[in-house]
Structures are given as C-alpha cells and as structure tokens.
C-alpha cells in the first residue's frame, strides 16, 4: 500500500515537474514590465532609406517642395493653387478698384467666414494680401504663396504647425515610404471655416444579436 502511494506521488511529481519545465521554457522573455521592445526600437537611429521601397509611385496630385525643414530634411506638400476656383486673383484684382455691380456677391458670395472666436472673427484682409491678391500676407507683412499657406496658418496655430512638421498632425499622401509628401493645411481645412462640419458617420456597427 505504502509503495503504491509512493508510486503515485512519484508519477504525479515527476509529471508535474516536466510540465512546469516545459511551460517555463516557453514563457522566457516577454514578461510584462521587464523590458520592452521599445528599447530595441529606440536603439535604431541609423536613417532608413525610404527610397528602398521601390513600388512607391510619384504622387498623382500636384505637389510643391515645402519651404520648411524638419524630420529628415526636405519634403513635399500638396499644392493648393489648382484647387482655387478663380486663381489667379490678379485677373480681376488689378491696381484699379473693381467697379462691377454686386461683384462681391457674384464672385465670393459663397464664402462664409467662420474662423476665429466669436467676437473676434477674422476678416478677409487678416490673411489675404491687401494689394497683391495672388498672395497671402502674414503679420510681418511678407507675401505668402497660396501653396505654402502653412507659413501663414502657423503664426497662430504654431502648435499644430509643429505637430504637422513632425507628422503628428495632418497626414501623408498615399505612401508611408518614398519621399515624404504631406497634406497641406488647406487640403483638409477650409481656410474660411476650418472646423469640420458635423455630419452623420459614414457607417455604423451592427449589434451582434
């Protein structure tokens, strides 16, 4: 009887140990809180050649070279001018005053300005150049190209601009690899009413039962 018991205990003990050993071998690394793979990630600081990904095609939309540098040198932004209906503005806005009747309502009547806080909403002239209408003007009085409006927006929205330069605000166009092509401020935001309008979501999640 006693030997029998010893046998059982032996089997159980031996088997249990074997099981435990196999499981422990399996566990090994990856224990929570110990060391993170992020250490490996952060240790990689040699630049990655984004042109190594050969399937990347040039962006379809027109782009311009950004007049800023950040995050690995030069980059491209999506151009703006083509999207402006009546560009070039100087075809109407010459040195002479525009004297057509209802000219503003006919040409820019669709523009609703909803930019800036209540009580201190912006006026056209706060961004548009007072004389050379083919350009914008920043607070220092220098001309800003429509394709490079980020130079103007960034005066107030400097936090957003910093994030945009780094890649935490806005987005890249189509490719994560290849030459860096990012959306311009005006690609997503309507400069006259930059906040996104409320709307219904594109879809919904179905309840499962």
């Amino acid at each position: 009887m006693k030997t029998a018991m010893r046998g059982v205990v032996g089997w159980l003990g031996g088997g249990g140990l074997l099981l435990l050993a196999l499981l422990v071998v399996e566990v090994g690394p990856g224990v929570a809180g110990d060391s993170s793979f992020l250490d490996t990630v952060k240790a990689v600081d040699a630049p990655y050649d984004n042109r190594a990904v050969r399937q990347v095609q040039p962006t379809v939309q027109p782009t311009v070279l950004a007049r800023e540098e950040y995050q690995g040198g030069s980059f491209l932004v999506l151009a703006r001018k083509q999207a402006i209906e009546r560009f070039r503005c100087s075809s109407c806005h010459t040195d002479k005053e525009v004297r057509v009747k209802d000219a503003f309502a006919l040409t820019h009547g669709n523009v609703v300005i909803d930019h800036g806080r209540e009580g201190s909403a912006l006026a056209c002239i706060d961004c548009h150049h007072p004389r050379d209408r083919d350009f914008l003007e920043d607070k220092k009085g220098s001309k800003i190209d429509y394709d490079h409006s980020y130079q103007l927006c960034g005066q107030c929205h400097f936090r957003q601009k910093r994030d945009w330069l780094g890649g935490a605000h806005g987005k890249r166009a189509t490719y994560w690899a290849g030459e860096r092509v990012v959306y311009n401020c005006t690609t997503c935001h309507n400069p006259h009413a930059p906040r996104f309008a409320k709307r219904f979501p594109a879809t919904y999640a179905v309840p499962l039962n």
């Binding site: 990655y48 890649g167 935490a168 994560w176 690899a177 709307r199 594109a202």
Partner: protein, 327 residues
C-alpha cells in the same frame, strides 16, 4: 455566393418529417426506410459541405482544389510553392466566379517594423476608416464584418467598455471624444501563442497574419485576444462582385473561406508596397499615423518621442504596436 436560405428551410421541414416518424405509427420496415433515406440525405449534404472537390464543375477545378487542399503552411512554402498556390487561387477565382484577381505574396521589407498611432483628440467619429477598411479588405457585407471599432467616449474615462460602440447620430458630439480599436499587432501576441497549428504568426515586419488555408477554425485565438481584434467567418462571406478589391495578398485581403479566422493585417497588400493602410488614407481628420518604427525620421517615431502616448491594457504585457496619443 448567396446562401440558399429557402433551401435550408425546406430541408428543415424535410428533416422534421424524418425525425418524427413515430407519430404516424408506421411499420418498422417503412420506418427503417425513412431512416435510411434521411441518413443518405444527410450524408450527401455532408459530402457537399466537406469534400473539397465535391461540387467542382470541371476536371481542372477538381484538380486545383485538391492541390490546394494538400498544400503546406505558408511559412513552410518555398518561393515557387508560394507562386504556385497564388496562381492556383487566381485560376480558381476565374473558374468559379469569373473574377480577375492579382494575388501577391510580397515578402516583408527589410528593416521595417510597422507601428500605428491614433490621435484621440482629433478623431471625430466619422467612421470613414471603417468603410474604407470594409471595401479594401473584402469584408463580409451580409453580417457587416468590421475590423475597426470606433467608440464614442464620455470625458473622464479611457476604457472603451465605458463608451458607445454602436452610435449613429451626427458627430462629433460636443464634449465627447472618439477612440478607435482594431488589431494592435502586439509584439507579444497572445493569439499566435494560442494557435494549435501555427496558422497565425507575427511576420518579421511586425504584422500578425493568418494563413486562412491552414487555420482549422478552433477560435482559440479569438478567445485569447484581449482587444477583440479577430473575426471569424461564421458563414460564407457575401460581397457584390463589382465591389471586390482585386489587388490582393495571400496573407491579406484575399477572399476568406468559410470557417476561418481573419483580422486586420495593416492592409499588408498595400503596406508592403509602401502604401498607407486604407484606414489611414481614408481618415478625413488625420487622426491616424502609420509608419516604420525602425526609421528614426518617421512620423510614428516622432509621435512616440514628442507626444504623451498610451496603449490599451498595457498591463497585460502584450506590447501592442498601436499607441493612442493626445495633441
């Protein structure tokens, strides 16, 4: 591809008449006859449901389907074998459904580890990402399978279980924020550890993939996932033929057979060609950041370095490669 539901109901009726013959008080012989008819019907249904070539129309299809049945796990295939199965799958799709597919088997890019960040300040809950994902990844339209969930969150709480994942009203609602979830492509994934057949694994570029043809459909990985990142093909997926995305990847958006696990693959068919995942491309607010963690100049590395980030259920040690951040 449509499920013949009427047919099923008819069969159900038929089955009832077989299963309850005792009420009619028939003779034992007639009863046994009924029984054998029932058994024959059932086994015929079983055969068409199970055997790979049972409803093949041509000899070529029959041959291809048996070859497909006995192929190896994708991880063990040589390059030729990968090319072979991809060609067979394309040919089968052409034979069966008249589809012209381009299925790829692009390998992982060297020195690339994908990472993803989600800006909970910026997301406004428009769910454009969800529709783009459904379209790109050929998700089942009948049961409305979605890899991405967006939760409308009350301020003061960060756990999606406190949010509403089924909202449908004008968004964004004032004083609420939106939080997206999907497969987080953990560096230490509990799902791949659970799989009994190694049908799911983490690729060298960090994407957790499923070999749909090697999966046995036990759903242990689904139970093991702490993020509800996996979906199962409970029935045959239904996608309108004209809406099928034809550029596919073996491990990505190719049409999944019934009874297999599927999941977000960071759009492997796109990302391995340098493109952004469909959700990132579709996002109208720029809340989604995707890139190479091994590129010190990438946007994702910028976010990790300069933003306050957190990951969901970090205490589990799963090391998701998906970070939430705040402007």
């Amino acid at each position: 591809m449509n499920l013949p539901y009427d047919d099923q109901e008819k069969q159900q009726e038929h089955h009832e008449s077989v299963a309850a013959p005792g009420e009619k008080k028939c003779s034992r012989r007639a009863f046994l006859k009924n029984l054998s008819i029932g058994a024959a019907a059932a086994s015929a249904a079983l055969v068409t449901g199970c055997v790979p070539g049972a409803d093949a129309a041509t000899n070529e299809e029959l041959r291809l389907r048996w070859q497909e049945f006995f192929k190896k796990n994708y991880q063990l295939m040589t390059e030729e074998e990968k090319a072979g199965t991809v060609t067979r799958l394309e040919r089968l799709a052409a034979l069966r459904d008249g589809l012209e597919l381009q299925i790829g088997s692009e390998p992982p890019l060297p020195r690339v580890l994908y990472g993803y960040a989600f800006n909970i300040t910026r997301c406004e809950g428009f769910m454009e990402c969800v529709t783009a994902c459904v379209k790109e990844n050929n998700l089942d339209r009948k049961t409305n399978t979605q890899y991405i969930r967006i939760f409308e969150m009350e301020p003061g709480q960060l756990d999606p279980s406190t949010g509403d994942g089924q909202y449908f009203h004008e968004v964004p609602v004032d004083n609420k924020f939106y939080m997206g979830t999907q497969c987080f492509h953990c560096e230490n994934p509990p799902c791949t550890k659970a799989c009994p057949t190694r049908a799911t694994w983490k690729e060298p570029d960090g994407i957790v993939v499923v070999d749909y043809d090697w999966c046995i459909g036990c759903r242990y990985c689904q139970a093991a996932c702490p993020y509800y990142g996996r979906r199962f093909n409970w029935g045959r997926a239904e996608i309108p033929k004209e809406e099928i995305t034809t550029r596919q990847h073996y491990l990505g958006n190719r049409l999944r057979p019934v009874g297999k696990m599927e999941k977000c693959t960071f759009c492997i068919q796109r990302t391995r060609k340098g493109k952004l995942p469909a959700c990132v491309e579709a996002c109208p607010t720029g809340s989604r950041v995707f890139g190479n963690l091994f590129d010190p100049n990438s946007e994702i590395r910028y976010v990790l370095k300069h933003k306050k980030v957190f990951r969901m259920k970090e205490e589990l040690g799963t090391e998701p490669k998906f970070w939430y951040f705040i402007d």
